[in-house]
């Protein structure tokens, strides 16, 4: 008997169907991967299973019994725990308090918190999870996102769930943390916990899942054993197009060197970074989380200060001290954290997309509103941002469309010579990814120098003319397209390459 069976689930919001017909069943102790583009219905399905929303119709069976999950508390009572992509930790509280929120052990007639016990429980959970080094007494705000994600998952684990739902859990994790998570998932599955694993990363799905369900347009279009499926089949089911059509054709750059960085160092983050990008070139930069990639980009962009080293733009010194100066100098940077520092979520598409290009639609500080709107409107339709229109707050857009607004913001700036893309497709559906890849290729074709930072291997391999690999703040390898192999890149990035020589 399946542990969890979902039959013909249907849900609409204000008449817009989000889930049309999803059915699947999963046996106890199995890891079921759910994949699909944004808008395929994954989030809605997850909300239904965790009690955040009720389906319009359809049936959920737990161990053969119909389950009514009307509130999050119902889901918890049934042993269903969900780890959402958006972190829900309270930054000013300790790890232990976050993990045990709402269920802190007490003594003296439930009046006094039993801190030693709370810390012991939290430490135990973290140790079982493979992170004995996390001190349950430290405050969440002192942690980076990766550690926060670990605590978030630990918070679900402490309840010893029967069904664990994980939404893109590895998006911010490093390779070793991901390995620890996968080990834990396998251990949980062996002990009989059913795991629903949502991810964009197909390599991961093939590594961890037993079965897979592909969702498209609110329907479950494919279910099968992972061993019997090819990556190609999954992608085709998700997007309806073959893998080969994802990346535009690679072009050989012809131009002069535009950006040149020598001996750039920021103590504690990276040292002695040398790189050159020519006009029309896409320079890929791969590295695990914490390897210093983003910091290099931020320093080049003037958002953080370097300790030493030289940046040259078209041969002239260009150590920018502020992003404002960098933008004037012809740089653009799409940051990795769209919600944190890429967008002002509460503001309209117009205000966000027009944020970097005031000077194109204003004189003496006064904005030509009509011109600005026309400018942004044009870009919105050019990039086919959905829904069209510029007045809507970007908060209401899907992840892929939000990312297009960020891209539009920088495309609206004139005279940009260098584009830095930092994780341009994080949390973006495959259809939008393809569009963003095309934009990157078009920029390069127009003579712009592109620095493409990403932890998605297929992306850097598919787009770059050359690839730099960073590890622990240093560039450890530079590869040409003939050396683009997943194993090679990963070996360098993880420091496992047999001939892993330090370049400098």
């Amino acid at each position: 008997m399946p542990h969890l069976a979902v039959t013909k689930i249907r849900k609409s919001y204000d008449g817009n169907p989000a889930v049309v017909d999803i059915s699947f069943a999963v046996a106890p102790g199995k890891v079921l991967a759910l994949c699909g583009e944004n808008g395929a219905g994954k989030s809605t399905l997850m909300k239904i299973l965790s009690g955040a929303t009720l389906p319009d119709s359809g049936e959920i069976l737990l161990d053969g019994h119909p389950a009514r999950i009307a509130r999050p508390a119902d889901a918890m009572a049934l042993g269903i725990r969900t780890v959402y992509q958006e972190l829900s930790l309270l930054p000013h509280l300790s790890v232990a308090e976050n993990i045990l929120l709402g269920r802190l052990p007490t003594r003296a007639f439930s009046f006094v918190v039993d801190w030693p016990e709370a810390n012991r429980v939290a430490r135990q959970v973290l140790r079982d999870f493979g992170f004995p080094d996390i001190d349950p007494r430290s405050l969440i705000r002192d942690f980076g996102v990766a550690r926060q994600q670990i605590v978030e998952i630990a918070k679900a684990l402490v309840a010893e769930p029967k069904i664990l739902i994980l939404d893109e859990p590895t998006a911010v994790l490093s390779a070793s943390e991901t390995n620890a998570l996968f080990a834990k998932i396998r251990a949980l599955a062996r002990a009989g916990t059913t795991i629903l694993y949502i991810s964009h990363r197909l390599e991961e799905i093939f590594e961890i899942a037993d079965e897979v369900v592909v969702l498209k347009d609110g329907q479950s279009v494919l279910q099968g054993q992972i061993g019997k499926l090819e990556q190609e089949q999954l992608i085709r089911a998700m997007v309806g197009r073959p893998l080969a059509a994802i990346f535009p054709a690679r072009k050989e750059p012809q131009g002069e060197v535009i950006l040149e960085v020598s001996h750039l160092t920021r103590a504690g983050f990276f040292e002695n970074i040398d790189l050159k990008i020519r006009a029309g070139e896409i320079l890929g930069m791969f590295g695990l989380v914490g390897s210093g990639r983003t910091e290099v980009a931020k320093v080049i962009f003037g958002a953080e200060a370097a300790d030493s080293g030289l940046v040259r733009l078209n041969g002239a010194p260009a150590n920018f001290v502020s992003p404002a100066e960098a933008v004037r100098g012809g740089l653009a940077m799409i940051t990795e954290d769209r919600k944190g520092d890429g967008l002002a979520l509460g503001l309209s598409v117009l205000d966000n997309a027009g944020l970097a290009s005031f000077d194109r639609a204003s004189s003496y500080g006064i904005i030509d509103g009509v011109r600005r709107r026309a400018m942004v409107d044009g870009k919105v339709s050019e990039l086919s941002i959905r829904p069209p229109g510029t007045e809507r707050p970007v908060r209401q857009l899907s992840g892929g469309n939000q990312q297009k607004v960020v891209v539009a913001k920088w495309l609206l700036v004139e005279g940009t010579k260098v584009f830095i893309f930092d994780e341009p497709t994080r949390g973006v559906d495959i259809a939008t990814k393809v569009e963003i890849y095309q934009i990157i290729a078009d920029l390069a074709a127009s003579g712009v120098a592109v620095l493409l930072i990403s932890s998605e291997m297929p992306e850097v391999l598919g787009l770059s003319n050359r690839l730099l690999i960073m590890r622990q703040g240093r560039i450890v390898a530079e590869l040409g397209p003939d050396q683009f192999r997943t194993e090679t890149v990963f070996a360098y990035a993880a420091g496992l390459a047999p001939g892993a020589r330090q370049l400098h």
């Binding site: 817009n16 940051t335 503001l347 966000n352 006064i366």
Partner: protein
């Protein structure tokens, strides 16, 4: 990941800017005015209307200034002290110089205090509440050191040109306020600085990384707020014919109230010049009506507090 897009019913662009709460408030003011004009013979007299329009100018300028700062996600508690100091300078310095020069010094002082507030906030990344609380205290102390007793204007023109002047039946100072509403609207909506300030009230880092000089626009908002508070102080001293060192204590709260009633969001991301005008009018009319009915001032305070609460509740986003 996926967010469900709700299709909003098509509205014309004018009405899109107004929420239902705005309309309810406009209606409430109309009802209040109608009620007051029926219940009190004094309310709709020219004398009373002139009085109200002159009185609301003080809070009007303070609130418009406050709005510019609130849109950046900040707050300025020092406006009451700036108002008092500006009044003292504009009147006290008249013994040494022409009153127009005295006014210029007073306004410069207001802008400078705003500039210092803004600079401290951006340069050292401090909280606006704390910085302006501190300048509020320092300035109040400073102005008592400057003038322990009230100052009276020397030049008769000071009163007859500003606080005592009329254009037809309309008080001069009210005209100045009425003109500054579209000016502030213009700044907020059609200037680079205004749009940038609005955006940084929602996400400062995103604005910085878009290559915008965050400090410049933030400081500008505080300078404008200080300047507006100084204008309010000069006009008040001119209208009353006296500058008291004790004036303006707690005025910042009335200004914040007007901004909030008008739809401003403390913490950034909302508020319009028209909304603030509505908030200022509402508070002034309520004050006036209660005065006409000789309601005890304790009840007035109670009622004002209640209005703020109702306003915030009415504008609460449906969570």
């Amino acid at each position: 990941m996926t967010e469900i897009l709700r299709t909003s019913p098509k509205k014309s662009s004018f009405w899109q800017g107004l929420s239902r709460a705005d309309l309810i408030f406009a209606l409430a003011i109309v009802v209040l005015v109608a009620f007051a004009s029926i219940a009190s013979d004094a309310f709709l007299t020219q004398r009373n209307i002139v009085n109200v329009s002159r009185q609301l100018v003080t809070n009007g300028f303070l609130s418009l200034g406050m709005l510019m700062v609130v849109r950046t996600g900040g707050i300025d508690l020092s406006v009451g002290s700036v108002l008092a100091f500006a009044g003292l300078l504009a009147t006290g310095l008249q013994e040494q110089m022409h009153f127009s020069a005295a006014i210029a010094i007073a306004l410069t002082m207001g802008a400078a205090v705003g500039g210092i507030n803004g600079w401290l906030i951006t340069r050292f990344n401090l909280q606006p509440f704390i910085v302006t609380l501190s300048t509020m205290g320092m300035l109040r102390g400073g102005l008592y050191i400057y003038a322990e007793t009230p100052r009276y204007p020397v030049d008769e023109m000071f009163r007859s040109m500003l606080g005592g002047a009329f254009v037809g039946p309309v008080p001069m100072n009210f005209i100045l306020f009425a003109l500054s509403v579209p000016a502030v609207w213009f700044y907020l909506n059609l200037t680079v600085s205004g749009r940038a300030a609005f955006a940084l009230g929602v996400n400062k880092e995103a604005v910085r990384l878009a290559g915008v000089n965050v400090g410049k626009h933030l400081i500008f908002a505080y300078v404008a707020c200080g300047l507006f508070a100084a204008i309010a102080g000069v006009l008040l001293a001119s209208r009353l014919g006296i500058a008291q060192p004790s004036v303006g204590v707690g005025y910042e709260l009335d200004a914040i109230a007007a901004v909030v009633i008008g739809g401003g969001l403390l913490g950034g991301g909302g508020g319009t010049a028209i909304g603030v005008l509505g908030g200022v009018l509402a508070l002034a009319v309520v004050d006036n009506v209660l005065n006409l009915f000789n309601v005890d001032s304790y009840y007035q305070q109670l009622l004002k507090g209640l209005i703020i609460l109702v306003a915030v509740l009415a504008r609460r986003k449906n969570a």
